[in-house]
């Protein structure tokens, strides 16, 4: 469900109104950045991706389907941009700007978190996006399906396959039925 006034904002943005576009983008910049971060695990790259996605969205507004919701459309651009970054970046590298001893929080939690991040990063991008959208951004399955351009059954299948692969790094076992 789109937010109140969204069709009007989309119509104005499509006509070139940057203020309307900013009003559309404002509420979803943070979720978009979190999705990009979950996909890339690099703060700078994630923020770059959101900026690049905003530029692409602005340029593609003319092809926006009337009546559709802006949020899943924009998140789909972000997810695609993340896949491109992964293709063009060099390798998947864990940056060590701080030593583990510098990090706050208990050592056990740090290790668990590191395992989970690695497990997430090792997933194919489609599965990683599904996990991030559903469990991290709390999107319902039908919205995840819209973002990823697959059926709800396809999303469930991706999530369950991802959870199976991530199981050694997870403290709990969850399965979507």
């Amino acid at each position: 469900m789109g937010m109140t006034g969204e069709p009007d904002l989309i119509s104005r943005a499509t006509a070139g109104d940057k203020v309307a576009f900013e009003a559309l983008l404002g509420p979803i910049v943070a979720p978009a950045a979190r999705l990009a971060y979950a996909m890339l695990q690099d703060r700078a790259e994630a923020e770059d991706v959101v900026q690049e996605a905003a530029v692409k969205a602005w340029r593609k507004l003319g092809s926006f389907r009337p009546g559709a919701d802006f949020k899943p459309w924009f998140l789909a651009i972000v997810a695609n941009q993340c896949r491109m970054v992964r293709r063009t970046s060099w390798w998947s590298v864990l940056r060590l700007e701080r030593t583990p001893a510098d990090r706050s929080g208990s050592e056990t939690n740090s290790v668990l978190s590191m395992d989970l991040r690695r497990a997430l990063l090792a997933l194919p991008s489609g599965q990683r996006a599904a996990i991030a959208l559903h469990f991290y951004l709390d999107l319902p399955l039908d919205e995840v399906a819209e973002v990823l351009g697959v059926s709800v059954a396809g999303v469930k299948s991706r999530i369950n396959r991802a959870l199976k692969r991530m199981r050694p790094a997870l403290a709990t076992n969850e399965v979507l039925s």
């Binding site: 979950a38 340029r59 003319g62 590298v93």
Partner: protein
């Protein structure tokens, strides 16, 4: 603890995203009106016509000037892996991932891109950005205190260009590459570049074609 909580524990970071992200994104929008469907169709038709002409011109150019190194023109003497290839010390994999090749000596080595070409680099704010990785035998990020002593520079050899700039050097580690020194480089123009790394008295250079 459920998956949601675990993911938030693992991924949530204070101050992310930065509060100015929306304003920064908005500042990057061009003044061009969003493209309409008809404009898209015209654009696609123009692109197709351009692609046909460009393909013809590229094929003709290749016939006239044989190009032995992929995208790099013959005028750019890109560094290709020497024979026999450099094999790093046993603690490192025999070949790097991504189709690249090790290049250098145990005192300082890096990787060479396939065909000596850096292509599809992200381009923003007038520069191409690339991550450059360097290794030294026995280098261990845990024992390297303070500012890393690697310096990386670059000069364009086929035309004028502003100097290449680099980020602060940091450490990087992954299971398939071991401990490495990592520096981000901003390349102000496409073309033929000689990249030089210096680390504790050892110098290593290579020539790479930066594709537009």
């Amino acid at each position: 603890m459920g998956i949601r909580e675990q993911l938030h524990d693992a991924l949530d970071e204070q101050g992310f995203p930065r509060p100015t992200l929306l304003a920064e994104a908005m500042s990057r929008l061009d003044a061009r009106q969003p493209t309409s469907k008809h404009q898209w169709q015209a654009l696609v038709a123009a692109c197709l016509a351009f692609a046909v002409v460009a393909t013809f011109l590229v094929i003709r150019a290749h016939r006239e000037t044989p190009n032995p190194v992929g995208n790099a023109p013959a005028s750019c003497p890109v560094t290709l892996p020497p024979q026999p290839r450099f094999v790093p010390p046993a603690a490192y994999p025999g070949t790097p991932p991504g189709g690249e090749s090790w290049y250098g000596t145990p005192a300082l080595w890096t990787t060479l891109a396939p065909n000596g070409t850096w292509s599809d680099l992200p381009y923003a704010n007038g520069v191409y950005t690339q991550k450059s990785f360097w290794w030294r035998d026995s280098y261990d990020w845990r024992s390297e205190s303070g500012i890393l002593q690697l310096s990386v520079s670059g000069v364009r050899t086929d035309g004028p260009a502003k100097p290449l700039t680099t980020s602060t050097v940091t450490s990087a580690s992954a299971t398939d590459i071991g401990s490495a020194m990592l520096v981000g480089i901003d390349i102000p123009a496409a073309g033929c570049w000689e990249i030089t790394g210096q680390y504790k008295g050892t110098t290593l250079s290579f020539v790479v074609w930066v594709a537009a």
